[in-house]
Subunit: 496 residues, 3 copies
Amino acid sequence: MNRVTFKTPLAVAVAAAGLALAGTANAQSTDLEQRLAELEARIVAAEQRADAAEQRAELAEAQAEERLSSEEVEERLAKVERQASGDEGFSFGAYARSGLLIGEDGKSAPGGPGVTPAGPLGGNVGRLGNEPDTYAEAKLNYRMRFDNGAKADYRMMVADGVTTSNDWTADETNLNVRNVYAEFSDLPSFTGAFEDASIWAGKRFDRDNFDIHWMDTDFVFLAGTGAGIYDVQLADNWKSNFSLYGRSYSEFPTEESDITGDTDNLTLTANNYFGNWQWMVSGLSAADNEERDIGAGQDAADSGFHTMLAYHGDSFFGLGEGNFKAAVMHGQGLGAEVKVIGGNGSLTDEATATRVGLYGTTYLAPSWRVAPAILAETSEDRLVEGDRFDWATLNVRLANELTENFEMQYEGTYQYMDLDQGAGGNSAKGDYTKFTIAPTFKPEVGGFWKRPEIRLFASWSDWDDELNDYSADDAFGSEGFTGSQWTFGVQTEIWF
Amino acid sequence: MNRVTFKTPLAVAVAAAGLALAGTANAQSTDLEQRLAELEARIVAAEQRADAAEQRAELAEAQAEERLSSEEVEERLAKVERQASGDEGFSFGAYARSGLLIGEDGKSAPGGPGVTPAGPLGGNVGRLGNEPDTYAEAKLNYRMRFDNGAKADYRMMVADGVTTSNDWTADETNLNVRNVYAEFSDLPSFTGAFEDASIWAGKRFDRDNFDIHWMDTDFVFLAGTGAGIYDVQLADNWKSNFSLYGRSYSEFPTEESDITGDTDNLTLTANNYFGNWQWMVSGLSAADNEERDIGAGQDAADSGFHTMLAYHGDSFFGLGEGNFKAAVMHGQGLGAEVKVIGGNGSLTDEATATRVGLYGTTYLAPSWRVAPAILAETSEDRLVEGDRFDWATLNVRLANELTENFEMQYEGTYQYMDLDQGAGGNSAKGDYTKFTIAPTFKPEVGGFWKRPEIRLFASWSDWDDELNDYSADDAFGSEGFTGSQWTFGVQTEIWF
Amino acid sequence: MNRVTFKTPLAVAVAAAGLALAGTANAQSTDLEQRLAELEARIVAAEQRADAAEQRAELAEAQAEERLSSEEVEERLAKVERQASGDEGFSFGAYARSGLLIGEDGKSAPGGPGVTPAGPLGGNVGRLGNEPDTYAEAKLNYRMRFDNGAKADYRMMVADGVTTSNDWTADETNLNVRNVYAEFSDLPSFTGAFEDASIWAGKRFDRDNFDIHWMDTDFVFLAGTGAGIYDVQLADNWKSNFSLYGRSYSEFPTEESDITGDTDNLTLTANNYFGNWQWMVSGLSAADNEERDIGAGQDAADSGFHTMLAYHGDSFFGLGEGNFKAAVMHGQGLGAEVKVIGGNGSLTDEATATRVGLYGTTYLAPSWRVAPAILAETSEDRLVEGDRFDWATLNVRLANELTENFEMQYEGTYQYMDLDQGAGGNSAKGDYTKFTIAPTFKPEVGGFWKRPEIRLFASWSDWDDELNDYSADDAFGSEGFTGSQWTFGVQTEIWF
């Protein structure tokens, strides 16, 4: 730190000058002499000060020159900032949950949002205090920018889900690669309706899937291996996405005994957006799937149709701040698995299903959040001619933010189901209820979407006895799991 | 932003001084008086300006001081730039391909560059429009720099390859760890011939492997677990690499029924570089492998020899800009698997194989690229005394760059094979032809090595009927796959 | 580069002024005139210099302004530095070892620190020149900072261990997810004893585990799925950690034939720190584990107790610079597996085990490091009433740093074991000895904890013949592995 300091301050010089001007008129010569002397003194001082100012200016110049130019620093900083943020190069994303779900007997309890007999049909219930697994997705992303302005985005996702609590899970592991795709955008050759379009190919979850988080279910889950184009601007208020997804149907029984069959379902989808409205249409085809043996007298579907009309709301059903989503889906044949489109090759060619889903979130009061959700479906001739499955779930999540880091969460869930397998097996009718209280820690409270969380919980669940006998494949009716259950646990959930 | 502005500009002061000097001679005293007054005025102005300059210099100093010194910024920026680029710390690399390969029947078609009966022998054909899988390698790299100048590079690679199109592949997954090794370079203790040498140990693909990309085959693929040293400077124009690689031969049948054997193949390799020439020599040993039961009358090899002479050309065969590579390989005993050195423990002790490979790339015209390639092998006494396998593949990839983001790719591939298993099984002779057209999107066109790509494709392939009966283990002759095939699909490919 | 330079230097002006003052007294008027003229000249010069200084100050200001403010640069640099270092956002960590372990017969040799009959009981021996596997842990970490000062740390670890040397290990892979958890710290709502506390939930290795590196064994290894709180300040010199860990006991035989059982072990632990002392207490419970069939006449434990008293020393046993750790552990019932707490569900309800462990590290001379270690255990009624297992291992690692990049490492290990399975099987008594010499390369020598290393090694091992017949499940006594063995190899080891 160099700072030039002035030994002869200005005030002194000015004072001296003032005194000098106070001489008498006759002593003019002497007066002039004095005034000159004073001026000389002042000019010396002024010269010294000019020296000093010069010196300081020089120093300031030198210091300024030592600094990198802002242009260079800006450019280099901006690049490393893009890299550090993942806007360019590698970035890491994750979803994970892990914890314990323990029953009254001190042992792991069955659970999961698909725990009821309606679960295999997509009839999820609330997930809070109801999850027995460690599930983790690791997302390895890499974004490229090209000199011509084009961008490419590579995504790879590996995921694992196990229910064991052990740390070495080589025997139980389900580690697998769920996403491997590349997406290109900002292509200079794309103009007109395609100007903002991006194209992709590979294995992926479709960009336009959306879910009811509290029941851990997508409205629609379009995924598989294929290709597509997003954001084609067909008109001012009409954007469309088109995709072709393949899914594999492997080693299914055929009517020729001992010969298994393999085929692929191909789903061609158009997703149309008009303002807040989304209209999705899909056609499905699985060559030779009708050769599948799904039981005497039924023909497996080898094609299907699926459509969804959805509304993405910017408020809490128009009643207050928040958001909501509502959708109705209908499918036929292979499209009658209305969530995982093309995900079930055992559907009959007469299968039909209609589902409605909706949820909303809002603040009831400054520290009280609420999120109600409904999901319901009716399907017929699904797995066997004459079967009929009706179920409806009502779920409410409530949270009370108590400190910056703590909130009480509550969840009530109710499911009604009337499951008639026809010639395919048992029938059962009844309902399921769960109530959960979960003291929850968060680094920062403030909304339904803020994670991570660490939660303790106690859940009470009950269901009609009739449901225990419906299927040997589900948890209901298994040892010690016949209704009027308490479960306890602890869990973390994170995403970023 | 503080800027000092001057209320009394210099021009005014100077003008005042000029007027003052215009007084008369006789009024000398008055004149002097005036001049004094003027001087006084000017000195006041000069003082004010000195004040101001001082103030501004001070401000400039203060501003400059507020800036970080370029030395510090440079150092800190350079470090984060090294980290962001992966030159220091973590970096992510990938190879991936994923897509659909659909036959005329609308179902997944068999495929892959090793689809022909010669495939298991390494007789690959062109890969464009011929790949049915999702294959991805994730490379997790970590580079360390030490105060003494030494560097260490850690590499871990996980890879997965599946043919299912589904997004959840826990049942089919092949996820596994292919590389885990550390390599040290710039070791201050290394001098003389070792000055530029680096050493490594662990599981890896050898650094010196190189491939014919369009047929998805390495010229040689040396890999396994071991250790080595690279870049030993034996003479001015002679660099050598030495390595020892182990590979495991597990649970093979022995002549004692019900007792399986296990052993390891150890390959000791010297790779010598003289200018553009590479001469590779390998000795192989697998203790007790002769106890392996490979059929009556044959002895499995327990040792082997392998050599390759290669030329890495800087032009298109001397005919124009581009590059080319040419190599001839010969192996005996365990070295008779001339690509995957040590990769096949079932070779007889009399086995011999000779392979030639070459490819080149160049631009035929500003927007037309071409890459011809040839791969051919003859081997005898390979799996059974008296067997003989001859095959040769000719492949040509052509690309026409049409816009910044789009090119048409074409591939023609032809393979002749004469496969005589002797006492080991069927024999067959014939040829295979494939022609593919692939409209291809790229963020930036401009060469055979630029990725990512998204391609649509249609391939027509045909082969001699005789090949359908050669083996039950290959795709030829399986249901609906007997020649004169169309396949269609879409795929992405990326590496970085 | 703009620099204002002065054409009329100060010296000239001063000289002129000096001459002017040398006039005669009588010529006062002339003298005054002259002095005025000189003053005028000087004021002009001063004005010019003020101009110049002003100009330079302006320039310096302008240059300074062009630079980014240090506040902004500092803030942006600090953020990318945090991101690049992993202090915020993603970071990658690893542990890995990979290499070859070859016997005198040229084939892979059995090995591992648990190679002796005491190994399954936790009786490890020295690991140097004794490891046959490729084991790698990839740690994907993500740290978040919140506006309120809170931090969250997400950890995911995948690991794989195989003994094959091949590069494609899809058939042998053990790739699995060992850690998935989130930990929160600096929570503003936490005050008082909890001010510095952090909380976590998920699947993890406990933070407080510590090991004897040279024998590849933790003193205690607490791990599983659960939740806990660290660093509760109970008193000035008393910090405690509390945790609940679950571990799964799956598909064990029960006394009802054909019905397997499943339960969970729950371990509640308090870890107390007083200065260098650590006192750990754990209670274990596994509901219904007593239904496990562990052989006629024994009851499996359904609960247990475990405690450890440990000292973490800052010197080499008070004898010199370095460090040491010493601990004694005792367990009963399910706690009788004293290392992997809750890791063994087959223990009898009468099982007891007591273990001691200690190690230290120091420099004997500037380039000679030594690390002695002892681990010993006695257990009774472990797997069968009346069994008794005593074993003790003494291990010494010695290293001689010869250059910046090279050291010779030596390891001697001795294990005595007296294994009496009682009614459960064979008994054997004897000892095992191994001596290893390992020329070792490092980017930078300088301590037992510096990695990576690449080592060559030769080991000689021997043991009592009686140990060969103890168990068919261990390597002792298998073909060609009966004592007086040489093994050779090469290996890398790295962590960061």
